[in-house]
């Protein structure tokens, strides 16, 4: 029995059973979105803008429509016009008019790859040919590709209707939002500082890098109902957003989620789904659309590049006294970068009495950004965690001790104000400090060690669960949470734990939007926390009903029946304990089938912290960085299935290292993406990384029945800064731009050497 951190012994939770979907996944039987096929199905393709910024003067589709094999051609005119305001659509706050314009451009194209029209044809080749026959008359406009250019006076304006509160209702602008957080007295704070470090950082736009491209099959029925089969992190999100874009009642759309080949946040919105339904409606046939890799990189949502100015001060003993940050994030073509999250996470691990953060959401001629694993936080931590490393160096304090000295605890105010409840930040730092990695010596030329920490809020939101008990004592567990990291196994383990069953006797089933109650997206590190809570309660509901059946059999009251260690018991002669399996065979005679159910709108979310240590070796001649060793410590509350928790920690760390060293979008001076393939958009492979070591820290979330904390995101936050700090200690260069790719690092090293040589030469004269 695996013991929990709070001393409660578990039978199933904390073990490592083989995942229920494992055999299908490794044998190729698992069904992904592109595997779906239906009789009479047509193939859809999307025409995309070849310009970064252009007015659409006209679109002529008649030649395309006339091509034999083409069954429909659609443009934005085929979608209803929507209100230009923020609305609650499912769990998201979103401007539906802008969402629709991102799915099919309305009047203007705003990035290379922006969808302009779509066709459905009897073969993908005919659909491709049809795209070439669509005539679009563009008026090309100058592109705006960086936040600096977008914020300059006189910059070309992307969205003529965009306004912000600072500049007023008459001023056209590319700045969608300005957020500010303030605490204490920033001037007095810096006056009290013995050491101040101020640097400007730039981070490049990067993609989530899921291997499976976006896909959708839409089937519109003559009765006005539609079904969408797709790979998504949130089937209910697809339903609500597609319904809004199409002008259909939400209940008229059923979404069937396929297995998913990665999402990381990038599949929490819609691109092809409403197009598949629209084309199906026009043709009377199912229509399948899939993106190519180039389309994924050009036209789905990467995360923001950013410019961040970070100034922090501390006393000579290493006590942080002030932090002032200016940050601007690329939103892409429409507002909605994660700059708010960046602002609230940048110094979240620390107790800093004087704070001023100004954060700007800026539109640029790049794809509309989408969420990427702790969105906004990695950019921010690159700035703050490297400045903190410099401050620690100046004070002569070990980087872990610096973090422990200043670390947030229960009661520390967060950036936006609310105090933390019970958290595990300092526990993660102490775990790193006592790890074999950190205690080991690092020797050799051009080698260095760096530490970084990070924070993510996690979210709660809504989930539903049903436990259907079968007469042989096994159970089906029906949930709406798409499994992107092993959560279905974890949910089955929770149900098995409560019911006293073997984990293989609980069959988890991720189902469609008609078959389960509302369940919010698999994202925000919410699934084990919130859906796990719903599963726990659904299993408890099952036990409650079983107690009633046992009571009937024993002629007792339900409150006289106890359930413990998988057995129902009651006081009295002739009462023979029964297991769930034994009782399940008696359901028909005692009242009929049993389904336990529960829904939650989960409260009391526990935020997550991670600390990472990285050892690097830098090639002084090429600037290539080799990761020698990496260890991540993360507070997970309670690890239901430790292997999958470790997998999340390792996966986030790997992505953070890619973000640190190689990944970036290259646009030319016309705003055209030049690396729209995975050869040139360079993500780390298994050949680039050592096995990432993990330290699971368990500080239970108060109030959660199992103490779970979300684990999926925070591990991506520390690595860019940890790698930057390691490089600094290896070769004495403080990098302030991501990625720290070989050309950039080499240039920095040569510049430093050139400066050092000049000084030496001058001293020698």
């Amino acid at each position: 029995m695996a013991a929990s951190a709070d001393g409660q012994g578990y039978r199933v939770i904390g073990t490592r059973p083989i995942r229920h979907d494992g055999i299908d996944k490794v044998t190729g039987r698992a069904k992904y979105g592109a595997d779906y096929s239906f009789p009479g199905m047509l193939y859809g393709k999307v025409l995309r803008s070849p310009y970064a910024h252009a007015n659409i003067k006209s679109i002529k589709t008649d030649k395309a429509a006339a091509l034999p094999g083409v069954k429909a051609v659609v443009t934005a005119d085929d979608l209803p016009a929507l209100a230009d305001k923020m609305e609650q659509a499912g769990e998201q706050a979103i401007n539906l008019s802008q969402l629709s314009a991102n799915i099919l451009a309305r009047g203007k194209t705003l990035y290379d790859g922006h969808a302009v029209a779509a066709v459905a044809a009897t073969s993908p080749h005919i659909a491709d040919e049809a795209l070439r026959l669509i005539e679009v008359d563009y008026e090309v406009l100058p592109p705006v590709m960086s936040v600096e250019d977008a914020m300059k006076p006189g910059a070309p304006i992307l969205l003529p209707g965009l306004r912000n509160k600072d500049e007023g209702p008459e001023k056209q602008t590319n700045v969608a939002t300005h957020l500010q957080f303030k605490r204490g007295d920033i001037e007095e704070g810096f006056k009290a500082a013995d050491h101040v470090v101020e640097r400007e950082f730039k981070t490049a736009m990067v993609h989530q890098g899921y291997i499976e491209p976006h896909n959708a099959v839409g089937i519109y029925n003559a009765d006005g109902h539609a079904t969408i089969y797709c790979s998504t992190q949130g089937s209910f999100v697809v339903r609500s957003l597609s319904a809004a874009v199409l002008g259909m009642p939400e209940g008229n759309i059923k979404v069937v989620p396929a297995e998913i080949g990665g999402g990381f946040g990038g599949k929490t919105t819609i691109y092809l789904e409403p197009l598949s339904v629209l084309l199906s409606k026009k043709t009377g046939h199912p229509v399948k659309l899939t993106m190519t890799r180039a389309e994924v990189l050009r036209a789905s949502g990467p995360t923001s590049g950013s410019t961040i100015r970070c100034k922090m001060g501390c006393t000579k003993d290493g006590k942080l006294v002030a932090a002032q940050i200016w940050m601007a994030y690329e939103a892409g073509a429409f507002p909605g970068s994660p700059v708010g999250a960046g602002a609230m996470t940048i110094v979240a691990p620390y107790n800093i009495p004087n704070l001023l953060v100004d954060a700007y959401d800026v539109v640029v001629n790049r794809p509309k950004t989408a969420a990427y694993r702790a969105p906004g936080a990695s950019n921010a931590a690159m700035a703050s965690e490297t400045v903190i490393d410099e401050l620690a160096d100046k004070c002569g304090v070990d980087p872990c001790d610096f973090r422990i000295m200043n670390g947030a605890k229960e009661g520390t105010p967060q950036t936006a104000g609310p105090p933390y409840r019970r958290i595990g930040f300092i526990d993660t730092v102490e775990a790193i400090k006592s790890s074999p990695h950190y205690k080991s010596k690092l020797e050799g030329r051009n080698r260095g060690r760096g530490v970084g920490s990070g924070f993510w809020f996690n979210v709660g939101l809504q989930s539903s669960a049903i436990v259907n008990l079968h007469t042989d004592g096994t159970a089906s567990l029906v949930i709406g949470s798409v499994d992107i990291g092993g959560t279905r196994a974890a949910q089955a383990m929770i149900a098995a734990e409560v019911l006293g069953l073997d984990v293989n006797d609980v069959r988890p089933l991720v189902t469609d939007t008609d078959s389960i109650g509302h369940t919010d997206v698999t994202g925000g590190s919410r699934t084990a926390f919130a859906t796990g809570w719903a599963v726990y309660e659904a299993a408890q509901d099952t036990v409650r009903q079983l107690k009633e059946r046992a009571a009937k059999l024993w002629e007792k009251k339900p409150e006289e029946v106890a359930f413990s260690n998988g057995q129902f018991t009651a006081q009295g002669d002739g009462v023979k304990p029964m297991t769930v399996k034994e009782l399940a065979g008696r359901l028909a005679r005692t009242g009929g089938p049993i389904s336990g159910r529960a829904t939650v709108n989960a409260r009391g979310v526990g935020p997550a912290f991670a600390t990472t240590v990285v050892d690097v070796e830098v090639d002084p001649d090429t600037g290539k960085v080799e990761i020698l060793r990496a260890t991540v410590a993360q507070d997970v509350g309670k690890a239901i299935h430790p292997s999958y928790v470790e997998g999340q920690m390792q996966g986030g760390t790997a992505q953070g290292i890619g973000w640190a060293l190689n990944e970036e979008y290259f646009y030319d001076d016309k705003g055209i993406l030049r690396n729209s393939g995975l050869l040139d958009y360079r993500m780390p492979t298994c050949l680039d990384l050592p096995l990432i070591e993990t330290c699971i820290v368990e500080v239970p979330t108060p109030g959660h029945p199992l103490g779970i904390r979300g684990v999926g995101e925070v591990s991506i936050v520390p690595p860019p800064a940890a790698v930057a700090n390691a490089i600094a200690h290896a070769v004495g260069v403080r990098m302030t731009e991501l990625p720290m790719s070989p050309p950039r690092l080499l240039k920095a090293m040569l510049s430093r050497r050139g400066g050092a040589e000049s000084q030496a030469a001058a001293a020698g004269r």
């Binding site: 923020m86 706050a93 979103i94 300005h178 500010q180 969420a371 104000g417």
Partner: protein
């Protein structure tokens, strides 16, 4: 009376105060009372009768799920902050 911590950008409505007291058994009533004391809060915080989708509410350190119906205690501490998602 609950204590409402005023976001930096709304302190212009309170004459610069970062904390004010307001009464109301739920967030909706609280905002009404805030708006009575400091006109302009309703427009900043509400849309179509509920808390704006872009705004989250924290009551006594816990993120609320009830919008304008979120209960507020006699001595609660209330924060308004940007709503967030995840990836």
């Amino acid at each position: 009376m609950a204590t409402v911590v005023i976001p930096a950008q709304l302190r212009k409505l309170t004459g610069g105060k970062d904390r004010v007291e307001a009464s109301g058994r739920n967030i909706g009533r609280l905002i009404e009372d805030l708006d009575r004391q400091f006109p302009g809060f309703r427009e900043q915080l509400l849309q179509d009768g509920d808390v704006k989708p872009s705004i989250a509410v924290s009551v006594d350190g816990e993120m609320g799920t009830g919008g304008v119906l979120e209960p507020v205690g006699e001595n609660s501490e209330v924060f308004f902050l940007p709503a967030l998602g995840g990836g």
